[in-house]
């Protein structure tokens, strides 16, 4: 069992105004990780293949069991019910998963205007929103998934390879959308294979290490 969290190790003094403070988050596989994410900033998670980059994002979203603590605007994750936490700190997996027939079915009626606007920004045709999901390409589903995450209006978005299935033009559109949202205060934690993407989003790097 990992050691229980000890409050005195928490570096919050420097970051009372910080958006997200990750403090000694660890699992049996990942060595303890700490970093601070400011409002409108981007953190890029680096590490060898299989080092546990995805696991780190899942740990922050509280989808996997682990030790350590995470603060959002000074509120500890352990103080909030997990569903409330995950609505503000949204994890988006690398593979898109859907449970209803069409993209639009996954949105409440009052979200349809936002959906159509964002679909337009990402040049996702309106007909694609009402087409059976099995008829969409991987790239279309990937863009639709980003819209699904953004509509939640999260404070922090944990993105696992969000542009892996996109061509250069669509990557540029997605990055532009993310930069716009970051200007509005959104914090990003990003896993990407493209070093240039990290640079374009102004990311600082953190390195995941496997426990030895």
């Amino acid at each position: 069992m990992p050691a229980p969290y000890a409050p005195e190790t928490h570096p919050v003094s420097a970051s009372a105004r910080s958006l997200l403070v990750v403090d000694a988050v660890a699992s049996p596989i990942i060595a303890p990780m700490s970093f601070v994410l400011e409002q409108g900033a981007c953190t890029v998670v680096r590490g060898r293949s299989g080092a546990g980059k995805t696991r780190l994002l899942r740990l922050i979203a509280d989808l996997d069991e682990g030790s350590g603590e995470v603060w959002l605007n000074g509120v500890a994750r352990s103080q909030l019910p997990a569903p409330v936490w995950r609505k503000q700190v949204v994890y988006q997996s690398a593979e898109s998963a859907w449970w209803l027939p069409t993209v639009r079915d996954h949105f409440r009626v009052d979200q349809h205007a936002t959906l159509e606007h964002l679909a337009d920004v990402l040049t996702l045709g309106k007909d694609r929103l009402d087409a059976d999901l099995s008829l969409l390409s991987t790239g279309e589903r990937q863009r639709a998934m980003l819209i699904r995450s953004l509509v939640m209006q999260p404070k922090v978005l944990l993105l696992d390879e969000p542009t892996s299935a996109l061509d250069r033009d669509n990557i540029a559109r997605v990055e532009q959308l993310l930069v716009d949202r970051m200007r509005g205060g959104l914090g990003l934690v990003l896993i990407t294979h493209a070093e240039e993407q990290a640079a374009r989003l102004g990311g600082q790097f953190v390195e995941v290490q496997r426990r030895t």
Partner: protein, 256 residues
């Protein structure tokens, strides 16, 4: 005389090369021995008329059924959790319905007369065994197949109940299907076993039908309770109070 039919089956199997004559003989022999033994034991228990002995027999029956329920699904929970769930559900569902039937509808004197309690328990357990194992298997298989979808919903802030609901509903429905089929087919496609037995034993057909109706209600009730209980308890076992999907609590799958 009736055993001549089995002989005919065996001959057909030999002639056509069906390769079933061996298992046919073994199964027939098992059936004869098992039923004769049960007949002997039952005769003894019924003559005994002792509540502790009746209770002991019933507990053994429940234990055997619970073991079957836990052992059948293709995916199992780690450790003894499957057994804890099936033991709880099978005993609750069967004891509740049988006690209810004995004290309110059938009313033998005394209410725990083994002549009624033991056969009734046997029928109810058969039905509970079916519903519980089917629903448990359906639920664990479905959530494993749908793990990515369930986690995507949890990641968007869904509560575990919300994220699991479609699979809960589908699994309970699968578990109830046999007893629903049994009820709709009763009398038209099949003549239920109890009713057949009673008519053969000389009981008035309408009386036998009333008995069968009562039994069907008991069976439906017990099956419903069993399917519901199994699925709800296993849903709690594969999630935790931070609303995470915990497929690590499933036992590793055996190959082949």
């Amino acid at each position: 005389m009736a055993s001549a039919l089995l002989l005919i089956n065996g001959v057909i199997s030999l002639v056509l090369g069906l390769q079933v004559h061996r298992s046919l003989v073994i199964a027939a022999a098992r059936m004869v021995v098992q039923l004769l033994l049960v007949g002997l034991v039952l005769r003894w228990i019924l003559a005994l008329q002792s509540p502790p002995a009746t209770l002991l027999v019933i507990l053994i029956m429940i234990g055997a059924a619970a073991r079957e329920v836990a052992a059948r699904p293709a995916r199992k929970l780690r450790g003894y959790k499957s057994y804890a769930i099936s033991g709880t559900v099978v005993s609750m569902a069967s004891l509740l319905t049988v006690a209810l039937a004995l004290t309110t509808a059938i009313r033998p004197q005394p209410w725990h007369d083994p002549r009624y309690a033991i056969p009734l328990m046997g029928i109810v357990l058969g039905s509970v065994l079916n519903s519980a194992s089917i629903s448990l298997d359906a639920f664990l298989t479905r959530i494993q197949d749908a793990a990515a979808v369930i986690e995507a919903r949890l990641a968007l802030g869904a509560r575990r109940r919300e994220a699991l609901k479609p699979y809960l509903v589908a699994a309970i429905r699968s578990g109830m299907l046999p007893v629903i089929n049994q009820m709709s087919a009763a009398g038209i496609i099949t003549l239920p076993g109890i009713m057949t037995g009673q008519v053969l034993a000389g009981m008035d057909a309408l009386e036998a039908a009333k008995y069968q109706i009562l039994l069907m209600f008991i069976l439906a009730g017990a099956s419903g309770l069993a399917a519901f209980g199994c699925v709800i308890l296993s849903a709690y076992s594969v999630t935790d109070n931070r609303h995470r999907l915990r497929l690590d609590r499933l036992a590793p799958q055996k190959q082949g």
